[in-house]
Symmetry: C2
Subunit: 215 residues, 2 copies
């Protein structure tokens, strides 16, 4: 697939990448209010990020702010969305449809951000052959076969910790290119596989500690 001078092929620093969705959420709010221009100073005030940081982050995009006017809201929203890839559909497997996996399938927000879950996999006989919100659940042993028709790029890892590495290996063997790891287990994978760790329970640990230290 020829993507030309697609700017989203540039590897950005992770902190920048994490801030861009904040800007997008904020810019979409302005857009809904029919606001046409916004300066980085204004964004800074409203979302508590340093204005020079914002200007630097946005400099990675194909968009320039105008002196004294700022950024055009509509263009900035479009550039951010294009860049972040939220508009492109990424076929995805859910590995493990226990409590967390099933919950993630039910979150329609994910599909709004480009993550389309096309199948779930599990080993529990009670789950296999069922479907969750229209997503069919298959036995893990069928993953490679199902991949031929479903062509998933991403695998979401939501299995128990003790099965995390094995499930990862099955996905990689089945042609999955990126693994979104919701377990607190540090999985291993070849270098050409993208791993994104999102252990929401680890965030709880940070929050609890901050609560204790504030008391």
């Amino acid at each position: 697939m020829l993507e030309g001078k697609n700017i989203s092929n540039i590897a950005l620093p992770e902190p920048t990448l994490r801030r861009l969705p904040w800007y997008l959420a904020y810019i979409n709010l302005l857009n809904a209010k029919n606001i046409e221009y916004v300066s980085s100073t204004q964004i800074s005030k409203d979302i508590n990020v340093d204005a020079s940081q914002i200007a630097k982050d946005l400099s990675f995009l194909n968009i320039k702010g105008k002196t004294r006017i700022g950024y055009e809201v509509k263009s900035l929203a479009k550039e951010l969305e294009d860049f972040l890839g939220f508009k492109r559909v990424h076929n995805t497997f859910m590995m493990g449809v226990g409590s967390l996996g099933a919950a993630l399938i039910q979150d329609s927000g994910l599909s709004q951000y480009g993550l389309r879950i096309v199948a779930g996999f599990d080993v529990n006989p009670l789950r296999i052959g069922t479907s969750i919100c229209g997503v069919p659940i298959f036995h893990v042993s069928e993953l490679k076969m199902r991949q031929q028709e479903l062509n998933a790029e991403i695998g979401v890892l939501a299995v128990p910790v003790e099965n995390a590495q094995e499930a990862t290996d099955v996905m990689i063997n089945g042609g999955i290119k990126a693994i979104w790891n919701f377990t607190p287990f540090r999985i291993k994978a070849p270098e050409n596989i993208v791993i994104q760790n999102t252990s929401i329970y680890a965030h709880l640990a940070v929050m609890y500690n901050r609560m204790n230290t504030l008391k």
Copy 2:
């Protein structure tokens, strides 16, 4: 409440706090296999974290490894759990029970990590008066009143971006001490309120970018 020389009152660096749950998940696996001792070198090999980093992280805990033997697995698991606060019950409100909020209520994993959701709040009349997995859903205007009986410390923010700040203010006004923010909106709060941002969609942005740059 007198907590004595509770070590979990020390403010730890966030990267350390995020790694501790990895160690716990790994140590629990060893425990399940009846392994009695483990060295930081062995942990390092198995979970891909530098051994000196592990030793440094664990030095914050009330536990010492023994020369040539390493850490006692059972004690280390207990220390980590105590420190992380996963065993203490934190009463929690779910603010917004749309797709994501409802999904989070259904994830029983959260309660295993000490987050007990005792009520949900919304403005959608179709949701109010119902319950999700036994969690009653009330109108947002009832939050302060319900708080008197339910005594929630934490509020999970899972409302649409345009309502994020207002919902935050309602929770703080209702006596909530910590806000777990799942929206991509940068909420503002007084300094004595803990804010933990967990925008899972921002993690998607990082993953998509890494996928593009690997191609």
